[in-house]
């Protein structure tokens, strides 16, 4: 199937080896994630196959233990609010930059993207010092602002991507027909860039949802998030409850990826660039 019809036998062998190699890499990519999931249904607290028996005890533990429940709740609060801030500010900035007349646009864009590039420990330590001066350490607001910063580059990138194929004559037509800028934005621009905004928001959400380093520095035990709770658990002794939490996060990631794929298709359809 891979080799072209004119391939020589030796070439066919090369393609076969190539296919085997790729299969192994795919196994490497998903294997670890697939291995950890069944272990969360084990009836015994050790990580061996075959499973000694099936049970849901680690999931019951996860949902009933006060610490995990609070961590889940904190993660939700911080992720939702940081996503709202990141999506709002990021979308506006992408809209402004795409108009093509902002001075120093290149420099501004690299500054806006830099939170994605700067090592997260540096972000965490700098905010730890900086937030201490204004009393934002150990507060929800501090953690939300920090996570919003980490999420904005994703929103800027995804919205900019949807705007590159954007037909300006549509907004001009709306304006010439008497629509106010706000009406034009609401009825023309927003529906067209919506897939980009949503996938940016999803990336921002998952950035906050998975973030552990900043949470380690800025959050008190009161604001401990799910990843932080997992981190301290892994450090001490991996309990199967962590594999249950991990499994739930993998399912969450799979749903997210599915949504992103649907959004991508929708965006392509809207812009008429393929099926």
């Amino acid at each position: 199937m891979l080799a072209p019809s004119y391939a020589t036998p030796r070439e066919k062998l090369a393609y076969f080896l190539f296919a085997v190699f790729c299969t192994l890499v795919f196994l490497f990519l998903v294997g670890p994630i697939l291995v950890i999931m069944p272990l969360s249904f084990s009836s015994e607290p050790w990580f061996t196959y075959p499973l000694p028996g099936l049970s849901l005890r680690w999931y019951i533990d996860f949902f009933t233990d006060e610490r995990w429940r609070i961590a889940l709740q904190n993660s939700g609060i911080v992720a939702v609010f940081s996503t709202l801030i990141a999506t709002g500010l990021g979308t506006l900035a992408a809209l402004g930059l795409s108009r093509g007349n902002v001075p120093f646009a290149g420099l501004i864009l690299s500054i806006l993207i830099s939170p994605m590039i700067v090592p997260v420990v540096i972000v965490a330590v700098a905010m730890f010092f900086g937030f201490a001066a204004v009393g934002l350490n150990n507060t929800y607001l501090g953690l939300i602002l920090a996570h919003a910063i980490l999420g904005t580059p994703f929103v800027v990138i995804t919205v900019t991507a949807t705007l590159t194929g954007f037909d300006r004559s549509l907004t001009r037509a709306a304006a010439s027909l008497g629509a106010s800028p706000w009406t034009t934005f609401r009825t023309i621009t927003l529906p067209l860039i919506a897939p980009g905004v949503t996938s940016g928001a999803l990336f921002a959400f998952v950035t906050s949802w998975d973030e552990v380093v900043v949470a380690l520095f800025l959050a008190s035990p009161d604001q401990r998030t799910l990843p932080r709770q997992m981190f301290s658990g892994i450090r001490e002794q991996i309990s199967p409850t962590i594999t249950a939490a991990a499994t739930l996060l993998v399912i969450f990631a799979a749903l997210l990826m599915l949504t992103l794929e649907l959004l991508r298709r929708r965006s392509e359809r809207l812009r008429g660039t393929g099926g």
Binding site: C22, A126, F217, V250, A253
Partner: protein, 418 residues
Amino acid sequence: MAVAALPGEAGPAGDRTSLKTKLRRAERVNRLRSFSLVAPLLLFVLAVFALPIGLMLLRAVENTEVRETMPRTIDALDAWDGRETPGEEVFAAFATDLVQTQKDRTTALVGKRINYEVPGARSRFLKAGRLVDAGGGGPWKEKFLASDAEWGSVEFWAIMKRAGQTLTPYYLLTSVDLRQDAGGAVTTNFADQSIFIDIFIRTLSISLVVTLATLVLGYPVAHLLAILPPRHANVLMILVLLPFTTSILVRTTAWIVLLQSNGVLNDILLALHLTTERVQLIFNRFGTVLAMTHIQLPFTILPIYSVMKSIPPSHLRAARSLGAGPLTAFVSVYVPQTLPGVGAGCLLTFILSLGYYITPALVGGPQDQMVSYFVALYTNREMNWGQASALGGILLMITLVLYAVFNRVVGIDKVKLG
């Protein structure tokens, strides 16, 4: 965009100038409007992200502890020529300062700062604190010298004088295994404190190995995804994107479960009789590189894939029809066209690898910790914030230089997600 109404009565010449000014004004308003959309995020990023990082960089050279806690001593040392042990006036000022630091409980703080440069200074400061607590008057010079001959060291007072300056190169020098001797000349640091060049080399080499590993594993996969019909490629793409969207912590946990000595991989090795006893696969360099490669692989694959996707298959066919062998055609026609993607993917992975903290901390041993780990360590555990900031600052500079290269070569606006 509103069209400006033209003034009816103006002559041809006046009309032209007013049109020009109007156009310019309209453009300015338009630019301002665009900028006002960007401004909120720009201000937010500058205030909450760039400003704290800038302040952190200042900490790398800031040096106010000694001047603030021992102002009299530092003033008295101003007049000291640095040739022999200072006179009574310096010791008297030192004693007065110590009375104050004992009251404020800051003696240990100053002692700790001096201890960085003069090993053992902290305990001597604490002892001196008890000496002034005991009361009695001067002459202090004799009292101090009697309690510990080290107080007579010219070198110590030279370092004390230098520590009183508000800016110091100390932390930055230490970060690259250098120090200033008592005379102020830069020399190599003491062997037991020269650990940082090693750590930087380790960080760079782990990042390099991870980048190469992702390239070797990722290039064929990207090629496969690019040549398969979309229906199959989309399914396989899920296998790349699922790990990409899964939490790093989850993937690290998975590797711990797999690699630990009573873990799944060791079970398999034993069952296959490949080994007779359990192998140490984790808490070493192997585990660190393996887990990091796993996490970074999608970052390398995706840019390469998107470039490969844009290469028309007809190029390879043309090369073959012109007589090139399969390998020649691939190496001389296909590979050069993929290089922009290879550059983008590898540079991205290298930059992101430099900042790894969580994964080495969880699956690495003490010899596998990278710069980020030490930034965190000096912030949390050692409470040596100057050192943390200096290490962080150097790591940041390396990252930003590579980011600028990436920007120049690839263009940050070309980055796509998913």
